[in-house]
Symmetry: C2
Subunit: 734 residues, 2 copies
C-alpha cells in the first residue's frame, strides 16, 4: 500500500540495539549541548555506532548499536570465558573465538545484555559509564531496547492460544527477555500446574468435608512443602540447563554505591572499594524500628477501620446503617494507598542508606522490606478476624463505644449506639466472607489495575499527544519534532517515541503478587477450600496478562541473567511455615461443631498451643524428609552437568596421559609379574650390600626371601609345621 | 648393649607398610596353602613386595611394601590428579610427575592410604581385592600398618606436656593418622577450648544466681548455637587447608555391597552396579520399628528400675532398705549392657540389610542408629526424673505398690510396703544428684573402662601368652613360632605379633562419647551449672587418653581422609535444638521459689508450652542470625582457596590471551576512536549501496549521519531548535 510504504516499512527496527532518551528541558542550552557531545563521544569510544533523531518536547533519541560485528563477538566471547572461569559454565570454550561462536550462536538476550553493559558499565571496567538519571547523566531519561513487535504479537497470540507453556516457550522467553524474566514465567507456569492439585482437592473437601476440615489443612500444608521443595529442584535444574547456575556470583556493581575506603585485594592485587560492614549492620538494624513502625501505622489503621466496621454492623442500629457500613472501606481506600506509598518510599530510602555494593544485594534488601509491608496489608485483616474478633469479640465489643463519635451525627438516641449488654452474637460467616473477598474480588480488581487501566491510560495519553502535536504543527510549521523525520522512518520513529514514554518493566512486582497470593493459600485456605480454584483461574489469565504487559505496556526490559527467583524463595518458605501454625490454630478454634461464640472462655490455651506445636514440628519433619527424598532423585539438568564435567575430566586426562604412561611403564614390571621386579631389586640390593659391607637392616630384611616363589615355599613350610604341631597336640590330648 | 643388639635394633619397622595377619587354624592344610599362594600372587600382581614370617598359633604374618618407588609415586600422582578432576584440589598439578612430587612431598598418611587401597581395592579397579574376614579371604584376619613407636612415644609425651594442641600438632596427626582422625582431635581441641566459656559462666551462675536460672539457660543455648555454627566454619576451613574439601564425593565402594543389576552409565558409559533405591527405602523404614522397639525395651527397663528405686527409697520402710536401694543399680548393670549389645548387633544387621554402595553412607546409617540407642540410655533417666517424677510423683507413687513383690521377702509387714497416704514428699535434690552422677561419676568410670582396663587386660594377656609360649617351647623344641626368627628380627617380630592381637581403632566411638557429653551440657546443664567445669577437666584428659589409646592399645588405624566430622554434626545440631526446649521447660518447672512439689496441679500447661514455644523460636531465629553473620566473616582457608582459584583463572587467561588480542584488534578501531570505524563502515556500506541499488533500509538508516561528528552537529541543531521553540512559546505566553 502506497501510504504505508511512504511512511516506511512496518515493524522494522533498523538493527537498533538501544535507544537513549536524552531530555534537556530543564537544562541550559550550552550545558545540554556539551553533555550531548560528551554522551556521543563516550558511546563511540566503547565501539558503539550512534544516530540521533528528534524526540518529543525537548528530547533527543540517540540510537545505538555495536559499531563492528567483531567487537560484539569479542565481547560475547569474553563474557563466556568469564562464565567459565567462575565455574558457571562447565564446558570449556573452544580456543578459537569464531568456532566457539558458531557452536553456540549469540542469542538476542545475550547481545542486548552485553551492549547494555557496554553503555552502563563504569569506564574503568571498559564501559561508557552512562548511568540514567544519576550524577552527570541526569538528563539521560532512560536507556531502553526496542520491542520486536512482530515477535511480540506472535508470542502473545501463541500464549493465549494454549493451556500450558512448553519448555520451548520458556526457552524462547529466555532468549528474548533474559533468564530473570524467564524464571518468573516458568515459576508462574509451575505454580499454575501445581495449583491443579489443591484446586481439585479443595473442591472435593468443600463438597465432602465440613468446614475447617483438619484433613484439608494437613494436605494443604503437605502440598506447600512439596511445592516449594520441588520448585527449588526445578529452579536449580533450569539454571543448569540455561547455563546460569551460580551466575549470582558474578554480581553487577551498583553505580550508586559509595565506598568509604579503597583497599588492595591481597590475592588479586586489584583495588576494591569497600564499605564498613559494621556501619552497614548498624544501618540494617534500622529495619527493626521500621518494621515495628510500619506494623503500628498500618496495623492501627486496619484495626481501627475493622473496629468501626464491627461497631456499625453489629452495634449501631440507627439510620443510614447501610451507608455507614461503607465508611471503613472508604477510609481504607483513602488512607491505605497513601500510607503504603509513604512507607515504600521510606523503605527504598532505607535500602539506599544501607549502601550495598551489588545490585542483587540491594534488590534483596528492598524485597525484604516490601514483603513486610505487603504481609501486614494483606494478611492482618484476616488475622484480626480469626484470632481476635472471633474468639474475643464478646470481651472487646463493649469497648467499641469509643467509636460512637463516628456515628453520633446520624444516631437519633444513645440506645442506637450502645452495645446490647446481653445476647451479642458474632457473625461467624464474616471470616469466610473476608477470605473470599481477598482471594477473588481483590484478585480481579488487581488484574484490572495492572493490565486494563494502563491500557486505557496509554490510549488516552496517546490521543492527547497527537492533538498537541497537531496544534504545535499548526502553530509553527516545521518545528514539530516529527517535521524532519525521513519519510522512510516516520512509522518507526512514531513507535520509538511511544516506547520512550512507556514505563520500565519491574519483574519484582509480579513476583510479589504471586508470593502474596501463595500466602493466602498456605495461611487461610482452610477457611475456604475453594481458594485454590479461584487462583487457578486467575493465574491462567495472570500469565497471559503479564506477557501482554511486557509486550505492549512497558519498555522492553533489559535481559538480565539470574540463577533463581532469588529472595522470594525465602518469603515462600516463611509463608508455608507460618501456614502450618495458622492452619492448625484455625482448625482447632473453628473445628468444633458449635464453632467459637466469641467468648474467650471457650478456648483452651494449652490445647491450642499443643496443636500448633505439633503441627509445626510435623511440618518441619516432613520438610526434612521431602528434601532428602528429592535430593536423591536425578534430574535432566544435573545429568547434563555431570556429563559435561565428565567430558572436561576426560579431556584433561587425555592431556596428561603421556605422563601417566611413563609412570606406569616404570612400575609395569611390578604390575605385570611381581617375580621379576623383586628379583631385579634383589640383585641390585645384593650389589649394594657387596659394595658397602652388609647393607642396611631393611635391605637384609627384604632379602631374606627371594621373590614370591620363595615367600610361597617358606610360607607353605610354616603352615605345614603349624598343622603338624596341631595334630601332635591333639594326639597328646587324646 | 649386646643383648639388645643381638635381638635386633629397637623400634625399627624394616620399611614395612602393612602386615597381613593370615590365620588358618580352622582351614584344611591344602586349602590354607592354596589360599596363601593366591594371596601372595595377588599382592605381587599389583606391584607389592612380600615377606612372610611365623605368627602366633596357626597364623602367618605377611609383610607388604610397595615393590618399587616409582610405582608408588605414580599411584600418588594418579590419586592427586583424581582429586584435581573432582575439584577437591584447586591448584592444578605440575604436568611432570617428579617435579609435582618434589613440590608436594608424599606424607606417610598418603602413602599408607594408597598402599591399603592397593591391597583392598577390587581387581577391576587395579587393586588386589583382599577383603579381610569376608568371602574367599575369611582367613585374612586383618591388614594393619605398623606403629611408629619412636614417634608415638614422642607424640604422647608432647601432648601430655602442653595445654593446647597447636595447629602444627594437628597437622602432624593428619600426616600420620589421616584427616579423619585429625578431624576428631581438632574437634576435641575446639570443643575443649569452647568449654572454657560455659565452665567459667557456669561457675559464676552457680555462685551468683539461684538454681535453674533463666539467664544461665539462655546463655547456654546461645553458646550451643555459636559453638556448632562456628565449628562448621572451622571444619570447612580445615578441609580447605588440608586440601580435602569435598573429598566425600570420592567415595569408597563397600566390598559387601550386593548389586541387583548392572547398568551402563549413559554419560560415562562405564558399568555401574545398582540397587533399587525403593527397596532400600523400604528397608530403611525398618528403622522406625527398630527405634520404637529399642525405646520400649530400654525405656521399660530404665523406667522399671527407676520406679523400683523410688519405691524402695521413698515408700519401703522395712529392713535392708540400705541394701535394697542398690537393687535397681544391680539390675541395670546386669541387663543394660546385654540389651544394648543385642540392640547394637541388631542395628548393624539392619544397616547391612540396607546395603549401601559406599562406606560413608553405611557408616552414616549406622551412626544414626547408634545415636538413637545412646540417646535413650543416656538421657531417658534424667528426662523421667525431670518431666515425670518431679511434676507427677504424687499421682504416680500410689501405683508403685505393684513393686511390693520385689521387696516382699524382706518386709516384715504390709505397712512397710504401702505408700503413705498423706504427706508424701518428693526428693527435690534427686534430679541434681542424677545429673552430677552422669556428668562426673559416669565420665570417670567411662575413662577407666576405655583406657585403664584395656591396658591391664593387655598386660595380663601378654603374660599368659608368654607362659603358653614357654610351655610350648619346652614341649616341642623348635616348633614354637619364635623358633626360626632371625635374631636380628626377634624384637621386631615380637612387637608385630603383639600388634596383631590388638583391636582395630574406631574413631566413631570416641566421637559418640563427645557428642553424648555435649548433650548433657545442652539439655540438662541448667540443673547443675558446674557441668561444663567437669567436662573441661575431663576432656583435657580425654584427649590425651585417646592419643594414648591410638598409640598403645589399638592397631595403627588406616589413615582415611574426610572433609568433616560427618553425621555427628547433625546429632550435635539436634541436641542443641532439643536443649532449647528442655532447658526452657526445666526453668519453667523448677524456677519458682518453692519449686515443684510433685503435685500435677501446680503445672500450668499453656504457660509451659508457651515458654517452650518462644524459647524454640528464639533459638531458631538466633541460629539463623549467627549463621548469616558467620558466613560474612572471612577465614584463612577460604582466602587460600580464593587465591588458588584466582591463580588458576589467571593461568587460563594467559593461555587464551592470544585469541582475545586478535578479537580486540579487530574491534580496536571502535575502542580507540569511534570516528574511524563508523567512517570505514560507512565507506564500505556506501560501496555496497552503489553496487546493488540503494542498500537495505537498515544500511540507509545508519548512513544518514556520517560518524559521530555529524551526529553531534545534527543533535546540536535539534537542541537549538527545541530551545528556540520553547522561548517562542514562553514569549507567547507572556
Amino acid at each position: 500500500m502506497a501510504p504505508e510504504y511512504k511512511s516506511g516499512p512496518p515493524d522494522i527496527n533498523f538493527d537498533v540495539d538501544y535507544v537513549i532518551d536524552y531530555r534537556f528541558a530543564n537544562t541550559e542550552q550550552a550545558e545540554a549541548e556539551a553533555q550531548f557531545v560528551k554522551l556521543i563521544k563516550a558511546l563511540n569510544d566503547v565501539g558503539l555506532a550512534t544516530e540521533v533523531r528528534n524526540g518529543d518536547n525537548c528530547s533527543l533519541l540517540i540510537f545505538v548499536k555495536s559499531a563492528s560485528d567483531t567487537h560484539l563477538k569479542s565481547q560475547v566471547y569474553q563474557s563466556r570465558v568469564q562464565d567459565w572461569l567462575y565455574g558457571i559454565r562447565t564446558t570449556a570454550l573452544h580456543k578459537d573465538m569464531q568456532t566457539q561462536l558458531d557452536d553456540e550462536p549469540v542469542t538476542e538476550a545475550e547481545r542486548l545484555r552485553l551492549v547494555y553493559l557496554l553503555i552502563t558499565k563504569p569506564r574503568n571496567e571498559g564501559g561508557a559509564g552512562i548511568t540514567p538519571k544519576t550524577g552527570e547523566w541526569k538528563d539521560v531519561q532512560s536507556v531502553f531496547a526496542l520491542h520486536d513487535h512482530k515477535f511480540n504479537k506472535a508470542w502473545v497470540v501463541q500464549l493465549t492460544s494454549k493451556y500450558f507453556l512448553s519448555a520451548k516457550d520458556v526457552t524462547e522467553i529466555k532468549d528474548r527477555f533474559g533468564e530473570k524474566i524467564a524464571f518468573y514465567f516458568s515459576f508462574l507456569q509451575f505454580y499454575f500446574l501445581a495449583l491443579t492439585f489443591p484446586a481439585f482437592f479443595g473442591f472435593c473437601s468443600w463438597v465432602l468435608f465440613r468446614q475447617y476440615s483438619p484433613i484439608y489443612a494437613l494436605v494443604n500444608c503437605l502440598w506447600c512443602i512439596i511445592f516449594i521443595e520441588y520448585w527449588k529442584k526445578q529452579e536449580a535444574d533450569l539454571a543448569v540447563q540455561w547455563g546460569v547456575r551460580g551466575v549470582s556470583k558474578i554480581q553487577r556493581k551498583r553505580a550508586a554505591f559509595q565506598h568509604e575506603s579503597v583497599i588492595n585485594d591481597p590475592i588479586t592485587g586489584e583495588e576494591i572499594k569497600t564499605y564498613s560492614p559494621w556501619k552497614r549492620l548498624a544501618r540494617q538494624l534500622l529495619q527493626i524500628p521500621f518494621a515495628i513502625g510500619a506494623t503500628l501505622a498500618l496495623g492501627s489503621l486496619i484495626a481501627g477501620c475493622f473496629a468501626i466496621e464491627i461497631f456499625i454492623s453489629e452495634v449501631y442500629s440507627g439510620p443510614f446503617k447501610s451507608y455507614l457500613a461503607f465508611l471503613p472501606t472508604v477510609i481504607l481506600t483513602i488512607f491505605m494507598p497513601t500510607l503504603t506509598a509513604i512507607l515504600t518510599e521510606f523503605a527504598s530510602e532505607l535500602t539506599d542508606l544501607e549502601n550495598y555494593e551489588t545490585a542483587d544485594a540491594h534488590e534483596a534488601a528492598m524485597v525484604q522490606k516490601i514483603f513486610v509491608l505487603n504481609f501486614i496489608t494483606s494478611y492482618l485483616p484476616i488475622f484480626l478476624t480469626a484470632f481476635v474478633y472471633v474468639p474475643f469479640a464478646q470481651a472487646i465489643v463493649p469497648y467499641l463505644d469509643i467509636f460512637q463519635m463516628v456515628v453520633k451525627p446520624f444516631a437519633e438516641n444513645e440506645k442506637q449506639m450502645s452495645t446490647p449488654k446481653v445476647g451479642f452474637h458474632i457473625d461467624p460467616s464474616r471470616l469466610k466472607k473476608q477470605v473470599i473477598y481477598f482471594t477473588v474480588t481483590a484478585q480481579i480488581v488487581n488484574f484490572g489495575l495492572e493490565v486494563v487501566l494502563p491500557y486505557v491510560k496509554r490510549n488516552v495519553f496517546k490521543k492527547v499527544k497527537e492533538v498537541q502535536a497537531d496544534r504545535a504543527a499548526k502553530r509553527a510549521g516545521n518545528s514539530s519534532p516529527t517535521a524532519d523525520d525521513h519519510p522512510e522512518e516516520t512509522l518507526f520513529l512514531a513507535r520509538v517515541r511511544n516506547e520512550a514514554d512507556l514505563e520500565a518493566y519491574d519483574v519484582t512486582t509480579d513476583f510479589r503478587e504471586m508470593v502474596i497470593q501463595f500466602g493466602y493459600l498456605s495461611l487461610f485456605s482452610v477457611i475456604w477450600p475453594l481458594t485454590a480454584v479461584s487462583f487457578l483461574i486467575n493465574n491462567w489469565i495472570e500469565l497471559r496478562g503479564d506477557a501482554l504487559k511486557i509486550a505492549m505496556e512497558t519498555q522492553r526490559p533489559v535481559p538480565w541473567r539470574s540463577d533463581s527467583i532469588g529472595p522470594w524463595l525465602d518469603s515462600l518458605g516463611f509463608l508455608s511455615w507460618l501456614g502450618s501454625l495458622s492452619s492448625s490454630a484455625l482448625v482447632y478454634l473453628f473445628c468444633r461443631d458449635d464453632g467459637p461464640d466469641g467468648a474467650p472462655g471457650a478456648v483452651k490455651g494449652w490445647a491450642l498451643l499443643l496443636t500448633m506445636f505439633f503441627s509445626e514440628h510435623i511440618y518441619l519433619a516432613v520438610q526434612l524428609a521431602v528434601r532428602t527424598a528429592l535430593s536423591k532423585i536425578d534430574s535432566p539438568g544435573l545429568r547434563k552437568e555431570r556429563a559435561e564435567r565428565y567430558a572436561a575430566r576426560k579431556q584433561y586426562l587425555r592431556d596428561i596421559q603421556a605422563q601417566e604412561e611413563a609412570a606406569h611403564k616404570a612400575a609395569s614390571g611390578g604390575i605385570s609379574e611381581g617375580q621379576k621386579i623383586s628379583r631385579s631389586m634383589l640383585e641390585q640390593a645384593a650389589r649394594e650390600s657387596t659394595l658397602h659391607g652388609h647393607g642396611t637392616p631393611e635391605e637384609r630384611f627384604w632379602q631374606r626371601q627371594q621373590g614370591q616363589s620363595e615367600t610361597i615355599i617358606i610360607g607353605k613350610g610354616y603352615i605345614a609345621k603349624a598343622m603338624s604341631k596341631d595334630k601332635k597336640e591333639s594326639k597328646k590330648e587324646l
